[in-house]
């Protein structure tokens, strides 16, 4: 590995080190720069005193920049340890000890296009300053804290995310007594004692009375739910249904209310469900929901039902890159546990490769997972896709419903509630009560949020006007 001796203590550091690992000296401004053409022969080429030199970065420092660095850094003068020996000084013209010419160094991947693995500076994409877009900009200088982009642009960027007018870099904010107090004690609204007490009371009330089923009435479903119900309801028995389980326990509070009625409906239709997930916690979450769905339908036993109707595809790593394989060769992509699958189910998965699934159900907390499926898999197998998403993902997915790429969509726990009402006849009373309690709890939670936002805004408005 290429190393660079610290000019202060002599410790050998990797060339990419910004600071000495031993004494902490800033090495960025002391790393050797390639000698520009026409440089004075009196100036030694190799400042490391024979150590291996670091390969240059594309757009490395020019002569003028190096000179300015020397001028600005009093410590840049060569010390005894890094000054070349007399022998090296005696033969600078021969080029024997000079660094290799540029053509021999590991250059960029394409000559004029630059390095593919070049580290990207996000600021250069959101600022248009000459400094940011200068291809000869020295990235080591930027790393060392010398800002090369326009400060005014940085301030404008900060202004986008700040409430008050931005201050110049380095300037200290003028803390009036009120502002200082707020900064010390947090936002003024959060110090409203009565508001905190009210929220606490509402939360306690939600815990005490949240289980009343009467509060979970009259849910509202957006368009798309009818299509999902129709797609599942028209499935012939033993149809292969691929289920992409794209949520884990983090969002199970909302998503279980959506997933369970859909799984129940699929089981009612005697569909063969192949479940997989791209989240590590997905398969375990799916197992629990499927078990509850089977219990709700009063099936004989979980083992029998699972062996007959549900195949656990497990965890599929690789993110979006591995999804296309599900479109062209699902039997190769699904890591089915051999303990769960007998010969008949293996044949079913093989059939999945030949005919494709009769229906694909994407149960996703994020719109991204539905979008990935519609872009990476659906064009490859031309299958029918329906989705169940969280309420927040609904608006982002809905354009695909209107374009026809998505055959149906259920979103939000109100959508799940409407779907549940279509399955009332098959559900057992205990499960109905549990579902209503969950919906009621969600209602209380959102109700608290609405009250808190409204009261907090009013209190804040009143407080600011009274000052």
């Amino acid at each position: 590995m290429a190393t660079f001796d610290c000019p202060h203590c002599g410790y050998s550091n990797p060339v990419a080190s910004q600071f000495c690992l031993n004494c902490g000296t800033n090495l960025v401004r002391r790393q050797p720069q390639s000698a520009p053409a026409g440089e004075s022969p009196d100036e030694p080429d190799d400042l490391t005193g024979g150590q291996e030199t670091a390969p240059p970065q594309p757009g490395e420092a020019s002569e003028g920049r190096q000179s300015s660095a020397e001028a600005s850094d009093p410590g840049f003068s060569q010390t005894g340890s890094d000054r070349p020996s007399a022998d090296e000084d005696a033969t600078p013209e021969t080029g024997k000890d000079k660094p290799e010419p540029d053509t021999a160094r590991p250059g960029p991947l394409l000559g004029d296009l630059g390095g593919l693995l070049e580290p990207a500076d996000p600021l250069s994409f959101i600022t248009s300053g000459a400094g940011a877009l200068d291809p000869t900009r020295d990235s080591t200088t930027a790393l060392s804290g010398e800002l090369t982009t326009d400060e005014e642009e940085r301030r404008q960027l900060r202004q986008l995310f700040s409430e008050d007018l931005p201050l110049p870099v380095g300037a200290r904010p003028d803390l009036t007594p009120d502002a200082a107090e707020a900064a010390a004690n947090g936002n003024g609204l959060q110090r409203q004692f009565w508001l905190e007490m009210l929220l606490l009371l509402v939360m306690i009330g939600a815990l005490l009375w949240g289980g009343q089923p009467s509060l979970g009435a009259a849910p509202h479903a957006l368009p798309g739910l009818e299509q999902v119900h129709r797609q599942i309801d028209t499935l012939p028995p033993n149809s292969l249904v691929l289920v992409n389980w794209a949520y884990d326990p983090a969002s199970a509070g909302e998503m279980d209310l959506l997933a369970q009625p859909l799984i129940e409906h699929l089981l009612q239709r005697q569909a063969k469900i192949i479940v997989f997930s791209q989240l590590p916690g997905g398969p375990a979450t799916a197992r629990r929901v499927i078990a509850r769905a089977e219990e709700s339908l009063k099936r004989p036993s979980r083992t029998q039902i699972t062996a007959n109707l549900v195949i656990e595809g497990g965890y599929l790593p690789g993110g979006a890159a591995s999804l296309p394989l599900l479109g062209v060769a699902p039997a190769r992509a699904l890591p089915v546990d051999p303990n769960w699958v007998d010969l008949r189910e293996r044949f079913s998965i093989a059939a999945l490769s030949e005919t494709g699934p009769a229906l694909t159900l994407v149960i996703a907390a994020r719109a991204e997972d539905v979008r990935r499926w519609l872009e990476q898999v659906q064009p490859l197998n031309d299958g029918t896709v329906v989705a169940a998403t969280s309420a927040v993902a609904g608006p982002a997915v809905r354009p695909y419903l209107h374009s026809g790429q998505l055959a149906g969509l259920v979103s939000g726990w109100d959508g799940g509630s409407v779907y549940v009402r279509r399955l009332e006849r098959a559900r057992n009373p205990a499960e109905q009560g549990r579902s209503l309690r969950l919906v009621s709890g969600q209602n209380w939670g959102v109700g608290i949020l609405i009250v808190a936002v409204l009261l907090g805004n009013l209190a804040g408005l009143n407080q600011r006007r009274s000052r």
Partner: protein, 209 residues
């Protein structure tokens, strides 16, 4: 960042990446010159690489925290805790013939993972509330509109409020979601796709000139 690879190796890697990308693009456009088995094989390799990257990530995490503990760096106790938990969960999975569906693994999932993740996610509500206090202010420019939109969406997504909210308001929100919001979302989808495409190309060709 310096690279120690030779230029020859870099060019070889670039050639392989370009060849794979060209094959995939050609197969997605339905060009017959690419046999389906080639693209299927490449997709399979992507899956393998994904699994291998996962293992590498685990190994890197373990190594990183081992070094922290070994050197006694700041908050090394948390690193030690992470390593202990990692060893316990790994042991629970390996020791059971059922693997991740074993009794101990299932208990860990039910008693630790699921409640932990749910709790962390539930804190989002608190963050949301805090953000609302800071940014959803009526007296900020445009704040009233943003606040009204947020509260309106919360209203119509809460089933029990349908008893309070008039039907006309629900119809209004349905219309908003079906037309202006969808138009905006389509614009966002198209715009973000184009932006990702151009930024990717810019990164690949280093087009900072």
């Amino acid at each position: 960042m310096y690279s120690s690879r030779s230029g020859w190796l870099n060019r070889t890697v670039l050639f392989i990446v370009l060849a794979c990308a060209s094959l995939i693009v050609a197969s997605r456009f339905g060009l017959t010159l690419v046999p389906p088995v080639v693209s299927t094989t490449l997709y399979g390799w992507a899956l393998l690489l994904g699994a291998f990257a996962l293992l590498l990530g685990i190994a890197n995490t373990v190594r990183f925290h081992l070094v922290r503990v070994q050197r006694g760096q700041r908050e090394w106790l948390l690193s030690l805790l992470l390593l202990i938990v990692f060893a316990l969960v790994l042991g629970a999975g390996i020791s059971s013939p059922e693997g991740t569906t074993g009794l101990l693994s299932e208990w860990i999932f039910d008693a630790v993972v699921a409640p932990g993740q749910a709790t962390l996610y539930a804190l989002t509500g608190i963050f949301l509330l805090s953000a609302a206090y800071h940014f959803l202010r009526i007296d900020r420019p445009g704040g009233l509109w943003i606040l009204a939109g947020a509260v309106l969406m919360l209203f119509v997504q809460t089933p029990f409020l349908y008893r309070i909210v008039p039907d006309s308001l629900i119809d209004l929100v349905d219309w908003l979601l079906s037309w202006p919001v969808m138009a905006a979302m389509r614009g966002v989808l198209l715009g973000s796709a184009l932006a990702v495409l151009f930024i990717s190309l810019r990164l690949i060709v280093n087009g900072t000139k």
